[in-house]
């Protein structure tokens, strides 16, 4: 009897021992071998990343994932979207569950250094704001003293909120929620006076309401929230691929390359920068282990940055965000892709 127990323990111990070490090797090689890009996205934020009625993911962040998949694997549909919450996203990336994280994540110092992430760029310049019901009669965030505020736990917004109320000598009661859907429910039931998150997120949330006209986003922007795709530390080549795919989409808009005219430009453009971008003259792709046409495929998948913006979150969509800071540098915005040479 005793010995059977011992033998069982031995068997269990050897089973545990047979579980292997974490995966090693370059992310590019892993993605190519798998034939699929694992992309961490929001659990559901209309306009940025949400599955439609048929289960197809669409959105601003989703388009970036598809562009990377097109550049690397040649097909923008070879993506497995992994929904992550504010709490699970960085762990999912660090553990290798996703290859790239495109989930409205703010680029901050500690995340870039201490969390061992690499933010490869900014695809949306955002800021934190507040949404309240119109009938509260509140017109400024400075009038929110004593309010109950719904906040997604595990986000930078939690810290900004604390700092903002402290700096203005105001009190508030936080209601911690886990996901945007839960926040929406609490806010709609009146369990909180104000809902705070990035303004883009507020606009997306409001667009999903039955009565968006009864809710107002307050004018104060209390923080800088540069949102961008992130990869793990330690694989610089993979970081380059994601960074330059994003830059290619931004540069394409700057040079007027769209998904519609791209074929024609490949044949006829005599702008050397466009020729290099589209792999007509130099073979830039080879420098990071891809073929010459990587950027061409990335742009063709869902269009250049401007097309993606307009299709998912622009003024013609229910979310209705203006370009603002996210216009090209030539239009007074902050988007500025380094030269392709």
């Amino acid at each position: 009897m005793k010995q059977t127990v011992f033998l069982g323990t031995v068997a269990a111990a050897s089973l545990v021992a047979s579980i292997g070490l974490a995966q090693e090797g370059s992310t590019l090689a892993q993605v190519k071998e798998r034939g699929e890009l694992n992309c961490g996205v929001n659990t559901g934020l209309v306009g940025f990343a949400a599955p439609d009625a048929n289960g197809n993911w669409t959105g601003f962040d989703v388009a970036l994932c598809r562009a990377v998949a097109a550049a690397v694997l040649g097909d923008g549909n070879k993506v497995r979207f992994v929904p992550t919450t504010g709490q699970t996203r960085f762990t999912a990336l660090a553990s290798g569950e996703v290859d790239v994280l495109a989930r409205n994540s703010t680029w901050t110092f500690s995340r870039d250094t201490d969390l061992a992430l690499d933010f490869v760029g900014v695809n949306y310049y955002d800021g934190q704001g507040f949404m309240v019901r119109k009938d509260l009669g509140v017109t400024s965030a400075k009038e929110l003293d004593g309010a109950t505020v719904c906040i997604q736990t595990g986000t930078t917004t939690e810290l900004n909120l604390a700092d903002y109320f402290r700096a203005n000598g105001m009190n508030y009661t936080p209601v911690n929620i886990d996901s945007n859907a839960e926040g929406e429910q609490q806010y709609m039931a009146g369990a909180c006076d104000a809902y705070t998150t990035d303004v883009s997120g507020l606009a997306a949330t409001r667009a999903a309401f039955a009565d968006p006209e009864n809710h107002v986003i307050l004018p104060e922007i209390i923080s800088k929230e540069p949102l961008g795709p992130a990869v793990r530390h330690g694989d610089n080549n993979w970081g380059d691929i994601v960074r330059w795919t994003l830059n290619a989409l931004i540069a394409a808009e700057e040079y007027g390359v769209t998904s519609r005219n791209i074929e024609e430009l490949v044949r006829s453009s005599n702008n050397p920068e466009v020729q290099r971008l589209l792999g007509v003259s130099d073979d830039l792709g080879a420098m990071m282990g891809l073929d010459a046409e990587w950027a061409r495929r990335a742009i063709m998948t869902s269009g250049n940055y401007g097309e993606i913006f307009a299709a998912n979150i622009g003024e013609q969509t229910p979310i209705g965000l203006a370009r603002g800071l996210n216009a090209q540098w030539t239009q007074g915005g902050l988007l500025y892709a380094p030269p392709f040479r």
């Binding site: 010995q3 960085f90 402290r166 886990d178 009146g190 793990r232 330690g234």
Partner: protein, 418 residues
């Protein structure tokens, strides 16, 4: 068949480690010990290597950095300028608050339901059966979410109490307001505040609180002395003196004097701006969590109590009746002392379960240890391993303390002759 070899110890051979009963068990124990140690070493080594691979190290320095986030319910003073360590302590205290409240309420409700299930009233007993089966057969998380959703959706926002002809009005003589965020309760204020005792680390206890605790403790001791005196009188004369008025006096008179002395009175919460202020706002997250934990655990405790009572043979009751004891004295003097022997050990497990189940608080945003240390702190610092290890050790320590305390209690109530 004449074995002449001497019966002494044969010379030791290596094969005896397997074939000789005297050595075999020792051999296996040594092998298993080595394997377990090797397995543990492998796990630790693997963790360290993988952490190095991710460019992370293992240290608890983050506990002393500024937390930077706010917590809705703070039993000790806390601001966003405090450290992650203090945030973790606040979380631990919140865990303890809901656990202690839950254990007390679940015990009371469990005993009532358990006894009621044995009631001779058919309808009453069946209703209790339905209660038990409903609550113990559905996941606790669902109960927490359902109760929380009921509070959020059914109760009004604080704004509903505003104005002359408000849709809702406060109850208990305008002292309590139910809202979909919290229950606003009155606070106790003093006209003659004796000041506070500073325990360090910005934790203070008001002298009035200390006085009341001291008064109640002395009251309990005095009551016990009165009971002993009554017992000795009864033993000598056979006549038990009436003591209820003495007990009542020693329990209440000192407190009444203190209330008078400190000028204690209730201050009702008032609706100012967005919310009720000036009172004590008990968040719905706490109430929902507490109710769900209570109902769920009470269903299990009810079954334990019922089993404990049924374990005492009916002959005991009949013997007590034959001696002329009334039913309630039969219960308290004969049945319960014997039933407790069966009830207490599984009751300990239920208390441990309740405490650990309280970590489901995150579902309703109640900031317990899992919400602060294992939630926001973990997220903001990215120290998953450290935070989880610390949390596991804390829950382990908490559980061991509870079970240690309950074991002492068990040693006191179990039958002495065994």
């Amino acid at each position: 068949m004449t074995d002449v070899s001497a019966p002494g110890n044969p010379p030791f051979r290596l094969s005896m480690l397997i074939h000789d009963r005297r050595y075999r068990s020792l051999t296996f124990q040594v092998i298993v010990f080595i394997l377990v140690m090797a397995g543990l070493w492998w796990l630790v080594d693997n963790t360290i290597k993988n952490l190095a691979l991710l460019g992370k190290n293992f240290n608890f320095g983050f506990l002393f950095q500024r937390a930077g986030y706010d917590i809705p319910q703070t039993p000790i003073p806390y601001t966003s300028d405090d450290t992650h360590l203090r945030a973790a302590v606040v979380g631990l205290l919140n865990t303890l608050i809901v656990s202690v409240l839950g254990c007390i309420a679940a015990t009371f409700l469990g005993i009532i339901v358990g006894v009621a299930r044995l009631s001779k009233n058919w309808l009453f007993a069946r209703l209790m059966t339905v209660f038990v089966e409903i609550f113990r057969n559905m996941p606790l998380l669902l109960w927490i979410l359902i109760i929380y959703a009921i509070f959020t959706e059914i109760l009004p926002t604080p704004a509903a109490y505003r104005g002359e002809d408000a849709a809702w009005s406060m109850i208990f003589f305008d002292h309590v307001a139910l809202t979909n965020r919290y229950t606003a309760l009155p606070t106790i204020a003093m006209t003659n505040d004796p000041g506070s005792l500073d325990l360090g680390a910005r934790i203070t206890v008001n002298w009035a609180t200390i006085s009341f605790v001291a008064a109640l403790t002395l009251g309990v001791i005095a009551r016990r002395m009165i009971r002993n005196w009554a017992q000795s009188v009864q033993d000598r004369t056979g006549e038990r003196p009436r003591t209820w008025w003495m007990s009542l006096a020693v329990m209440t008179v000192p407190s009444l004097i203190l209330i008078r002395y400190f000028g204690l009175h209730l201050v009702a919460p008032e609706l100012t701006g967005f919310n009720f202020t000036g009172g004590l706002n008990v968040s719905n997250a706490l109430v929902a969590l507490w109710l769900a934990l209570t109902l769920y655990t009470a269903a299990f405790i009810a079954e334990i109590v019922r089993a404990g009572i049924l374990a005492v043979s009916k002959g005991q009751t009949e013997a007590a009746y034959a001696l002329g004891l009334r039913p309630n004295r039969t219960m308290s003097l004969v049945i319960l002392p014997q039933a407790l022997r069966v009830i207490v050990p599984p009751l300990i497990s239920q208390y441990l379960n309740l405490t650990k189940n309280s970590s489901l608080a995150i579902a309703v945003g109640y900031m317990d240890l899992r919400g602060t240390l294992g939630g926001t702190t973990l997220n903001q610092t990215g120290r998953e391993l450290e935070a989880i290890v610390l949390m596991m050790l804390t829950y382990l320590a908490l559980s061991l303390i509870i079970s240690g305390a309950m074991n002492i209690f068990n040693a006191r109530v179990k039958l002495k002759e065994r």
